[in-house]
């Protein structure tokens, strides 16, 4: 019950923040240098033609009117129309959102599991050689630029070893798969199409590995730190001095305590991934939101930039909300 009330309160608090996000993304886009109409200008276009296009795009009215139109559209679930392609943003998003989320979610889940296992293990063997290896490894992992790592992985595993397919799509050409969510692996799973599934997974391996190497390392360092803190706590000492069985000790005291500190961290990491995925999609020609946003930025496609920035902020905010809820469920001391 208190969870429901808490959720309501948090959603209410989200409103002003999201409003701020909407305003900021709108303003940010309008102060961009360059004209979105530049792309339409050819030597033969007259100023009349440009005026017409301007009107068609709704850019001829005042800033304030543009804003109210935009916000009004948001309430109807209308994010506007892309200047470049002329198709509605929501249509474009539907094919872009799935691929990105597939990449992000799979990477975060794998990283989380990896970090939890390695971090706790490393903490239990603190200051032994294997711990040092893991720690140095994790430091190197966080130091790797993902765009460079992606290139290296492509050069080694695609170009040299031919283990994985070319970084130019999300399934092999010729694989028959109808798109449902846009996340190919998930679609293949839904359709029970095994050929498509294996093809999609093969395409996922390198980009996912690129993301996982970076973020699991930083997550792991936090897991290790909190596990070490628990191992040094009076709480742990008490349980140990009372001869609690090792299984109960590890599960009920160490893992539980470590996990309870994770959710907020995962949300923060997710924010990093949402940003980093732009680079990874670029390197692997992964046609997701990142690529779409990049193109929008290049061509000053206002509605695309607005929508891209807004969606990433919403996903981030929802992730935080979920993290706080999970945290509250895991830790009874959190006041709702």
């Amino acid at each position: 019950m208190r969870i429901v009330r808490y959720l309501g309160l948090r959603l209410a608090l989200l409103v002003p923040t999201l409003l701020g996000v909407v305003v900021l993304s709108f303003v940010l886009v309008r102060v961009l240098p360059g004209d979105p109409l530049a792309a339409f200008v050819t030597p033969s276009t007259t100023s009349e033609d440009i005026e017409k296009i301007r009107q068609r795009l709704g850019l001829d009215v005042s800033m304030w009117e543009q804003f109210t139109t935009y916000v009004g559209g948001l309430f109807r679930g209308d994010l506007g129309t892309s200047i470049q392609s002329g198709s509605p943003i929501t249509t474009e998003l539907s094919t872009r959102f799935g691929p990105t989320m597939e990449l992000v979610v799979i990477s975060v889940v794998i990283s989380l599991l990896l970090a939890l296992v390695l971090g706790v293990w490393s903490a239990l063997r603190a200051n032994r050689p294997e711990d040092h290896v893991i720690r140095v490894g994790s430091l190197v992992g966080t130091a790797l630029p993902e765009f460079w790592l992606g290139l290296i992985l492509i050069a080694v595993f695609y170009k040299t070893l031919h283990w994985f397919p070319a970084p130019s799509g999300r399934v092999d050409r010729g694989v028959d798969l109808t798109s449902i969510t846009g996340a190919e692996g998930f679609d293949a799973l839904l359709a029970g199409n095994l050929t498509a599934l294996s093809s999609a997974l093969a395409h996922l391996v390198l980009p996912v590995a690129t993301i996982v190497i970076g973020i699991s390392a930083s997550l792991m360092r936090h897991v290790r730190a909190s596990a070490i803190e628990i191992l040094a706590s009076p709480t742990w000492r008490t349980a140990q001095a009372h001869g609690v069985r090792r299984g109960a000790l590890l599960r009920g005291y160490l893992l539980r305590g470590t996990a309870a500190r994770l959710p907020t961290l995962v949300a923060i990491v997710l924010g990093n991934v949402l940003g980093g995925v732009v680079l990874v999609e670029y390197v692997f020609s992964w046609q997701g939101m990142g690529q779409w946003l990049l193109r929008g930025l290049l061509y000053r496609d206002y509605p695309v930039i607005q929508a891209g920035v807004l969606i990433s902020a919403v996903v981030f905010a929802v992730a935080y909300l979920v993290a706080d809820l999970v945290q509250a469920l895991l830790d009874p001391r959190v006041k709702l």
């Binding site: 900021l24 940010l28 240098p33 040092h132 765009f147 290139l151 290296i152 946003l293």
Partner: protein, 270 residues
Amino acid sequence: MAPGVLTWTGAVLVAAVAILALAAPLLTSWGPEDIDPTAIRQGPSSEHLLGTDLNGMDVWSRLLHAARIDLGLAIISVAVAVAVGAAIGALTGYVGGWLDALVMRILEITQSFPTFILALAVAVVLGPGAVNLGIVVATVAVPSYARLVRTEVRTVRELGYVDAARTSGISNLAVLWRHVLPNSLTAVRVVAPLNVGWAMLALAGLSFLGFGVPVPQPEWGVMISEGTSDIVAGRWWTTVPPGLALVICVLGFSLLGEGLQERETRRRSR
């Protein structure tokens, strides 16, 4: 690992890169933007230690000169972000009230964008160029420092010695300056070196995408971006060295931060 070992290894890595950057003109006869029309995409040779790129520019020379931009810009922008963030955080945290509520709301909104995406947008607004790139990175880093310092200030504000200082009759500003601020910067001292590493990755990433340092200038992200077609074709020398240089620097700062953190936790546990 002793904190000393970590800190020193980190410091040595960073210092080595810094020295190489400063000594760049002595270590190469080629300018970073000089074009050797006779050598385009050539492998390492005695003339070009690390070969040449697609424009016929010397990779070794560019690698060294790029360190000036990457390292220098990252350090300066983080320093600026720390100064501005600490000032905002200390003031709002100590004063509290509506000012605090307002500023925190604004910071919260900017922080509800994934950092890199915000940086991208700001970078596009400001336009390309090294100075603008530094401003971008500093801007997106300010909110986190402000909030970090604010949290610390609010903890320290309640401590016994601050109460004691208040009853001693010195002014509020003096309490803030003498006691609250120095004791609130502990966390920042640890986080800042780690963030220089993050800043380097962000700078390079933005440049890699074409939103940072413009092309002929030597910068590691730009170099990797220009070498993209090379590496797939097996010409490693244009991409691998700048990437490794980035890794070494970021690792150096991480080690430094880790060492400082360890020392701090040991100091506290005593």
